[in-house]
């Protein structure tokens, strides 16, 4: 492969692919975070019937492979836009994991936090927003960043229904220039840079959290 083709491939990947991947990742990240936190809070409340229904829903969503969920949502619901179908799938899939992380974090906090909030005259929602959630988000940040990595990797699968992002752009470049071994390594480099940055931040936060716990920061 000549140098000009390498350059064209990089240009395609960065100008065409990267913004689309980032758009998809950011929109579905924001949505799945909101939905996940809501579901997590509801799940930690342990209302009998709602908790059972949520448990079954989460069990089903987690049992279905991401690709099948994508096809399911794209073909059986009235959603006909590829971008919206991808966003909905990523949100449904990742919010189920985020809700588990948040519910686990809330369960991990001591009951005294709730009681202290109540004794200061806050109502349930205020206690959640001002006392519980800030602590939980701090504690679970490494796990949430890990989920972000999974979300970014999930956007690659959205190329299967024809959403044009980095992977799809790579396939297009491959069809034009051949040499898939080089082009897919370029694609991997782009994903690796994005995901590794998040992982490194996660590791740093984890160490910081541990230091905080033993009172050294």
């Amino acid at each position: 492969m000549e140098l000009s083709k390498h350059l064209i491939t990089w240009r395609l990947l960065i100008v065409q692919g990267l913004p689309q991947t980032l758009k998809l990742a950011l929109v579905s990240l924001a949505l799945s975070f909101v939905v996940g936190v809501l579901l997590g809070v509801i799940r930690s409340r342990k209302w009998i019937i709602i908790n059972q229904i949520l448990g079954v829903y989460l069990g089903v969503i987690r049992g279905i492979p991401f690709l099948l969920l994508l096809l399911l949502i794209y073909f059986t619901t009235p959603i006909r836009d590829i971008f919206i179908a991808s966003v909905v799938t990523l949100t449904v899939f990742n919010s189920s994991y985020i809700s588990e992380i948040i519910a686990g974090g809330i369960d991990g906090l001591s009951q005294g936090q709730f009681k202290a909030g109540k004794s200061l005259g806050m109502n349930g929602i205020e206690v959640m927003c001002y006392v519980i959630l800030p602590q939980v988000l701090n504690l679970t940040m490494p796990a949430l960043l890990g989920q972000m990595v999974i979300l970014i990797k999930g956007t690659a699968t959205c190329s299967a229904i024809g959403y044009v992002e980095i992977t799809r752009t790579g396939t297009v470049a491959m069809e034009a220039f051949g040499n898939p071994q080089i082009i897919y390594i370029y694609v991997m480099i782009l994903y690796f840079v994005m995901c590794h940055a998040l992982t490194v931040i996660g590791r740093k936060l984890e160490i910081k959290g541990k230091l905080k716990m033993i009172g050294k920061a």
Binding site: P65, T76, A156, T167, C195, T199
Partner: protein
Amino acid sequence: MQFNLKLFIRFFPQLLNGYFATLKYAGVGILLSLLFGLIIGVVLCMRIPVITFILKWYIDIFRETPLIVQMYLLYYGLPYMGILLSAPVAGMMAIILNESAFVAEIVRGGIESINPGQERAALSLGFGRVHLLIRILLPQALKSIYPSLTGQASYVLKDTSLLTLVTIVELTSVSRYLNSKYLIPGTAFIGSAIFYVVTFWVIQFVVYLLQRRQKWN
């Protein structure tokens, strides 16, 4: 476009065939990725200078790039480098390389979390590094990490759905085929989702039983 029980029963044998193929791939994938993951995890803990460096990069690269891109790289790229593999071999290679990286990380974490006193006691009794890891540290680590390992098994099951993108016939491919031939997205995709969810729940139930037994002990 809704789920239709009559159609589901009519196409049940085809879906079942696809399901058996999925089980076959998942079984091979789980066994081999567990094996390689354990080996890599143990070798990683021996702290051999160059090998540890290489393995760390291998784990980072395969954990932080999408499986689908790895699959494309092996499936489309290897023939260009003169290595001709059949589609199932290339696809399974991608899954096994990906999952053993995750398993190796879990094993490493498990071994490193063991009390260092164990290591010193074994060394003072005259154990070599290899014996120490295999006889003393690994058995103890396995006890604490097997829930994550069985969780990884269900990830392998779900990963096999991506094999459909490299032309391998399994459950997701069968449902895609049924959908494109008879235009029955509801029945085809929800039907195969039922297979996946039931299998996932069986795995979860086995994990639950194992955990309960461990608590009894």
